[in-house]
C-alpha cells in the first residue's frame, strides 16, 4: 500500500509546487515590467515610455544628470533632512522607550496607547495646518523645521518599535551593572542599546527610508529650490521644462532609489527577511 501511494503523493506535491511556481512567476512578471523600464531606459540613448531592450547601451544619461545642480545638491539635501530627522527620531525614541520598558508606572499604558493611536494617523491630512502653523512661527522653508516635523511624524512608530525591541533585552543584565554603580543612562548606553543592535538598526533604517521617499512633507514645508531634497526635485524633469528626457529621468530615479534599496537589503539580510516589521505589526 505504502509503496504504491508514495510516488503518487510525491507527484501531487510536485504538481502543487509547479502550479505555485507558475502563479508566482506570472505576478513577478507583471511586477517587474515597470522596474525593467527604469533600468533599461537609464542605459538607453533613445529611451521612451515603453519597456524594450536598447539597441545600444550608453552611460550618457548618468553622465548628464550627475551634476551638482541635478543630482548632488538634492541628494545632499535629502541626506541632511533624513539624516537629521532620523538621528533625532532614534535618540528621542531610545530615551523614551527606556523608562517605558524598564519601570512600572500608571502612565505607561495610556502613553503607549496614545503612541499606538498616533502611529496610524494619516499624516497627510495635517500638512495644511502644519503649513499654516509654520508660516506663523517662521519655520516655513527651513531645514530645521522640516527635520523637526519629520522626526515628530516618525516618532510614534519608532517609540513603539523601540520599546518592543527593548522589552526583549533581559533586565538581569542591567541589574548587575547597577550593583556596580552604573546609572540608568549608562546601562542604557552600554548594555541595553548594544544588545538590541539589530532593533536599533531596524528603527534607524526604517525611519530613514520613510523620510527619504517622502514627497509631501518637503513639498509643503520647503520653498526655495536650493533646499529641495531629491523626492521633490525629481519633479523638475517633468512639466516645467517642456519635453521630458526619459533616459535621464530613469537614470536619476535609479541614483535616488539606490541608497534605500541597499539599506533595506543590508537590514533584511541581518534579520532574516521580513524586516521584522511583519512581526511588529501582525498583532
Amino acid at each position: 500500500m505504502r509503496v504504491t501511494t508514495k510516488p503518487n503523493r510525491l507527484s501531487r506535491r510536485t504538481k502543487h509546487r509547479l502550479a505555485a511556481d507558475a502563479g508566482l512567476l506570472v505576478v513577478a512578471a507583471a511586477f517587474v515590467l515597470p522596474l525593467a523600464w527604469v533600468v533599461l531606459s537609464s542605459f538607453d540613448p533613445k529611451a521612451d515610455l515603453k519597456v524594450r531592450l536598447p539597441d545600444s547601451l550608453t552611460l550618457d544619461n548618468y553622465d548628464k544628470v550627475l551634476t551638482p545642480e541635478i543630482t548632488f545638491t538634492p541628494l545632499l539635501n535629502s541626506l541632511l533632512l533624513c539624516g537629521g530627522g532620523t538621528l533625532l527620531t532614534v535618540v528621542c525614541a531610545a530615551l523614551a522607550a527606556y523608562p517605558l520598558s524598564r519601570y512600572k508606572s500608571r502612565l505607561n499604558r495610556p502613553f503607549m496607547l496614545t503612541i499606538l493611536f498616533a502611529t496610524s494617523l494619516p499624516i497627510t491630512a495635517i500638512m495644511v495646518p502644519v503649513y499654516a502653523l509654520f508660516v506663523q512661527v517662521d519655520l516655513i522653508d527651513t531645514m530645521q523645521g522640516t527635520i523637526f516635523f519629520f522626526a515628530a511624524s516618525q516618532l510614534p512608530f519608532a517609540i513603539w518599535l523601540m520599546k518592543n525591541f527593548m522589552d526583549g533585552v533581559p533586565k538581569e543584565l542591567e541589574e548587575a551593572a547597577w550593583t556596580d554603580g552604573a546609572s540608568p543612562f549608562q546601562s542604557l548606553l552600554r548594555i541595553v542599546l548594544p544588545l538590541m543592535g539589530p532593533g536599533v538598526a531596524v528603527v534607524t533604517v526604517f525611519s530613514f527610508v520613510m523620510m527619504w521617499g517622502n514627497f509631501f512633507v518637503p513639498f509643503m514645508l520647503l520653498l526655495t529650490p536650493e533646499q529641495m531634497p531629491a523626492s521633490v526635485s525629481i519633479n523638475d524633469f517633468f512639466g516645467n521644462k517642456g519635453t521630458v528626457v526619459y533616459g535621464q529621468l530613469a537614470a536619476f530615479s535609479i541614483i535616488y532609489s539606490t541608497p534605500v534599496i541597499l539599506l533595506y537589503v543590508l537590514v533584511s539580510r541581518r534579520l532574516g527577511g521580513g524586516f521584522a516589521l511583519g512581526g511588529a505589526v501582525k498583532g
Binding site: H16, R17, A20, D21, G23, L24, A28, F31, P34, W37, V38, D48, L49, K50, V91, C92, L95, A96, Y98, P99, L107, R109, F111, M112, F117, A118, T119, S120, P122, I123, I126, M127, V128, P129, V130, A132, L133, F149, A151, G213, N214, F215, F216, S231, V232, I234, N235, F238, L249, S253, Y256, S257, I261, S268, G274, L277, G278, V281, K282, G283
Partner: protein
C-alpha cells in the same frame, strides 16, 4: 502619631521625585510630539472653523460649521469622497490584501529560487521612493507606455488608461507599490500555523479551498484585521503617487481627498476650507486607528 503623616508625606515626595526623574527621558519625545504633531492637529481643529485664507485678508474670523456645510453641499468634495472610497476599496481592501495573501500562500508551496525572486521584486516596488514609483507607473500606463505595448503584442485592445480610467490606473499603481507589506504580514502569519494542523486536514481529504476557508483564514484572522486597517490608513493618505501620475485629473476624475484638500488650501488659497477637509480625513483615519487598536488590545 504626629510623625506618621510626616514620614508618609516625605515618602510620597520621594516617590514623586523618583517618578519625575524616571519620566525625564520621555520628555524630548513628548515635547516633539506635542509641538509638531498634537499642536498641528489641535490647530487643524481650530482653523477648520475659520475662513482663513492665504492671501488678501490678514484676519480670519470664526465661521462655525460653514466649511463643513459647504463641503457636504460641494459636488467636487463629494466626488473626492467617492473616489477616495473607490481608491481604498480597489487598491487596499481588494488589491493589496488579496494579492498579498495569494502571494504568501503560493510562497508556502513554491520552490525556493522562485519564492526568493518574486519576493525580491515585490519588495523592491515597496521600498522605492513614492515619487519614483509614481513615475514608473506613469510610464507603464501612458498611451505610448508598456501596458499598451504588451496589449498590442497580445492583440488585445489598448487605450489611454490615464484618460479613460484614471482612478483604476492609480489604484493599480497603489497595488503595485503596497502589496509587499501585506505579503510580508501574511507570510509571517502563515509561518506560525503549526504544520500538523494543515497536514491533518490534508490527510482527512480537505481540498485546498476548504482548508483555506475553514482552517487558514480563521487562524490568521487577527493578522487580516490589522493588515486591513493598516492598508486602509496607508491608502487614505496617499498623495505623491497620484500627484505624480495624474495630478488628480483629468478634470477631477482621480482627485482623492488629500489632493482635493491640497487644491482647496493652496491652489484656491482657502486654508480654512482645505483644513475642514483635512479634519474630516483625520476623523476617518482616527476611527480606523481606534478599530486597529481594539484588534491589538491585548498587546499593550
Amino acid at each position: 502619631m504626629t510623625t506618621a503623616p510626616h514620614t508618609h508625606r516625605a515618602h510620597r515626595a520621594h516617590r514623586t521625585r523618583r517618578a519625575l526623574l524616571r519620566a525625564l527621558p520621555v520628555s524630548p519625545a513628548t515635547i516633539l510630539l506635542l509641538l509638531f504633531l498634537a499642536g498641528p492637529i489641535g490647530y487643524c481643529a481650530y482653523i477648520a472653523f475659520t475662513d482663513l485664507q492665504l492671501t488678501g485678508q490678514a484676519e480670519s474670523s470664526f465661521v462655525g460649521f460653514d466649511n463643513f456645510r459647504e463641503a457636504f453641499g460641494d459636488e467636487r468634495f463629494l466626488n473626492a469622497v467617492w473616489l477616495t472610497f473607490v481608491f481604498t476599496v480597489l487598491s487596499s481592501l481588494i488589491g493589496q490584501n488579496t494579492l498579498g495573501l495569494a502571494l504568501a500562500t503560493l510562497m508556502q508551496r513554491a520552490s525556493k529560487p522562485i519564492r526568493t525572486l518574486t519576493g525580491a521584486i515585490v519588495v523592491t516596488a515597496w521600498v522605492l521612493p513614492e515619487v519614483v514609483a509614481g513615475f514608473l507607473l506613469y510610464a507603464f500606463f501612458r498611451r505610448e507606455g508598456t501596458l499598451n505595448a504588451v496589449l498590442d503584442f497580445l492583440h488585445l485592445p489598448s487605450q489611454n488608461w490615464m484618460f479613460t480610467l484614471p482612478i483604476l490606473a492609480v489604484s493599480f499603481a497603489n497595488v503595485w507599490r503596497g502589496t509587499a507589506f501585506s505579503m510580508l504580514v501574511y507570510s509571517a502569519a502563515l509561518n506560525e500555523i503549526p504544520k500538523e494542523i494543515t497536514e491533518a486536514a490534508e490527510v482527512d481529504g480537505a481540498s485546498g479551498w476548504r482548508r483555506m476557508w475553514h482552517i487558514t483564514l480563521p487562524m490568521i484572522r487577527r493578522s487580516i484585521g490589522t493588515n486591513l486597517m493598516l492598508n486602509t490608513l496607508q491608502t487614505l493618505s496617499v498623495f505623491g503617487l497620484i500627484w505624480v501620475m495624474t495630478r488628480g485629473g483629468p478634470g477631477n476624475r482621480s482627485q482623492t481627498l488629500p489632493l482635493f484638500m491640497y487644491e482647496q488650501a493652496f491652489q484656491k488659497s482657502m486654508i480654512g476650507y482645505g483644513t475642514a477637509v483635512a479634519l474630516l480625513l483625520l476623523l476617518v483615519g482616527s476611527l480606523f486607528s481606534l478599530i486597529y487598536m481594539r484588534l491589538l488590545r491585548t498587546e499593550v
